[in-house]
Symmetry: C2
Subunit: 420 residues, 2 copies
């Protein structure tokens, strides 16, 4: 679904001019960052122009004392973190890909650090946004909190370019922890691993990351990253704090893991060991792709209340046993969020992948969870929006879209299901 | 501004029925919790009925493993915390008054714990909300995060009953810290105190509370609470964590305070000492009222980026020196949020109070802050909404109001300034 053309915008005014022209001629506008979204957000399903914001890559201000930075929407998270070197601060949200901050805000992205630092929902303080008629809207501000009026910033975060195009963002920054350590632990089954996570959180251990990987993911990682990790359900932890606090956190978690049959508890306090470990985790997606050379990936993600997580994964594994394609499972278990990396090659594989995806989504929603924890709706999950939120919520979303984009030119066809 | 009548609702269906009837007859509906809001939110400025939700006081579910609870909107924060006894969990948001959770959500309330636990914006996961035509809307869910569609929950939080009436809420809970300690420290001036706060946050000390009180507030507290605290700019701290972590946090903060001329650093690790200290802080408002027996209070609050806080307070103190009425200043300095408690008796006092309030609001906005950190807009601060957010944002807010409440029956006249 290629667009009719591409416009490369380098500042807010160029976005506004483009949108105003498109509004005049009824042409759809689809904002584009680096194209790392996975639910078809950037496809020109209704034609129109792709508005490439990758040239909007200037960091406009860093306020170290206040812990915030203002950037153009095309700045990527790694670029921002590079610019923060020497300030003692970092931007923690890490969805894996080196996505643009505008794209991450638009899809309400999160990733491995969300259990400690929240998602883009929590970390965008202000935006400059171009509306459907080309007007320039300022939302939010640099105060840490405000009760002044409707929360337009949060309405835009997660709206996937359908209500406005974010041109600039102000995001929160955090002090780089004095000490960081990581740990890995293998569990006899998924249920014990999830119990360890629940107990860790209930004890108030302020873990920065807790990631769950299944046996197949570990096998893929070992092959890809030349590691020798046990090929069993595994938790990866990261702890941030003072040296004493980090050590205490790791000890508390180790004691919990021991009680639940955890084995191979391995610490990584040295930066190089920690990097190796997390690099392996971050490469899990690519490692899985290598399980079946030449294949493509059909990714999906859901999120459930953590008390239902083990049950949700167990039932999903029963489904997986019924299909012939390789499916790895890993995720941000501290939030109850997990991904399936479904490897597909043939038409038949695609059918099986679609079946698995539908099963896990319907199961997550039945467990009071969500059809997507961090990927967004795009085109791929529109059909679940009504199931998850109900008819009235979809009608309200449609009324908001109508109020802000009455001619439906901003990323049309995304998020909202077609009217039936 | 009394309402034409009061309806006492006890469940969601009664709210829906009431709103549907009011919609039919064009009668304004003003939701009411315990009436502790301070910007005129519950006044019947356009007539209509007051919808009293205090009978909606049932706790519907506590999910200890997931760290959330679902309550009716009339449940107060203290009632919820009483119900949580024995679970090891608590609900941290504490605006001072024992407000209802529905009211707190509607005004995007926060209070002393926000620097660690966020505001109501961050802690409402889901709502059941009655729309302007009586339809019942479900927003959000119990997953810890979701990218599924527009964030209707955040749109309702802070909308002050003008977009919908929240009937039920699901809120986040947190583990009760294993250890809690408190500390007090006096500083030679406000600037040093604020510097201590900035350094504390930049070092990543996870303080749970940092409160600033000025000399007059301390004088009032000493008179009211029979304490003997130094009557000078003072910080109150609270630390949550493991016993070792709490001690380490306090030591780090003490070292910072020492460097900045802090004196009288006093620890309170014993629960009774800590309670006495925080009771004194919580009584500050009432203590200030006693400075001028028989007077009333004209409260105001603003919030600025913390780098501007000392400057904002210094300029405000210059204004205070020009009026004859007593004005105490204290606030949630970790967020850059402070309150003025302006004591008024006569018409002339009211004029001076209005002048002070306007000065501090305009100054906060000029410093990229907000006209209200946690009280809301109500009637009292409508005139500043455009100054803070700009014309386009106010037009967008009006478009959202029009989309969700086209006949303007939900708390009419609040939040949005009159069309001029």
């Amino acid at each position: 679904m290629p667009p009719g053309g591409v416009v490369f915008a380098e500042n807010t005014e160029e976005i506004a001019l483009t949108v105003a022209l498109c509004a005049e001629h009824g042409v759809p506008v689809i904002p584009y960052g680096v194209g790392s979204s996975v639910e078809g957000h950037v496809l020109a399903s209704a034609g129109g122009i792709s508005l490439d914001l990758s040239g909007m890559n200037r960091i406009l201000a860093i306020h170290a004392e206040d812990g915030d930075a203002t950037v153009q929407a095309g700045v990527t998270r790694k670029q921002l973190n590079d610019a923060l070197k020497g300030t003692g601060l970092f931007f923690p949200i890490d969805p894996g890909a080196d996505a643009t901050l505008g794209g991450m805000a638009a899809t309400r992205a999160s990733g491995t650090n969300a259990v400690r630092y929240g998602t883009m929902r929590d970390n965008v303080m202000a935006t400059t946004t171009v509306l459907a008629d080309g007007r320039i809207l300022k939302t939010g501000g640099r105060a840490r909190k405000s009760s002044a009026g409707y929360d337009l910033t949060r309405l835009l975060v997660g709206s996937e370019g359908t209500l406005g195009i974010m041109a600039e963002l102000t995001v929160k920054l955090y002090p780089i922890p004095e000490a960081i350590s990581a740990a890995v632990c293998t569990f006899p089954d998924i249920d014990s691993a999830v119990q360890a996570v629940i107990q860790t959180i209930q004890l108030g251990v302020p873990v920065a990351r807790i990631e769950l990987l299944d046996a197949l993911s570990l096998k893929a990682i070992n092959l890809f990253s030349k590691t020798t990790l046990a090929e069993a359900p595994t938790l990866f932890f990261e702890f941030h704090g003072s040296p004493a606090s980090v050590e205490e956190q790791a000890q508390t978690v180790q004691a919990i893991a021991d009680d639940l049959g955890g084995t191979h508890f391995e610490w990584a306090a040295r930066p190089e060991d920690r990097s190796r470990l997390w690099q392996a985790r971050h490469d899990a997606y690519f490692a899985c792709l290598q399980l079946k050379p030449g294949c493509r990936c059909f990714p999906t993600d859901v999120c459930v209340p953590i008390s239902r997580l083990a049950e949700c994964i167990a039932a999903t594994n029963e489904d997986i046993a019924q299909v012939g394609i390789p499916i790895a499972l890993f995720g941000h278990v501290g939030d109850g969020n997990f991904h399936l990396v479904v490897l597909v090659d043939t038409e038949q594989d695609m059918k099986e992948a679609a079946w698995i995806s539908q099963r896990v989504v319907e199961r997550a929603i039945a467990m009071e969870g969500t059809c997507t924890g961090e990927h967004g709706i795009g085109l791929g999950k529109r059909k679940y929006l009504r199931l998850e939120h109900g008819d009235v919520a979809v009608e309200v979303m449609r009324a908001l879209k109508q109020a802000l984009d009455p001619n439906n030119i901003l990323n049309p066809g995304k998020v909202l299901p077609p009217i039936t």
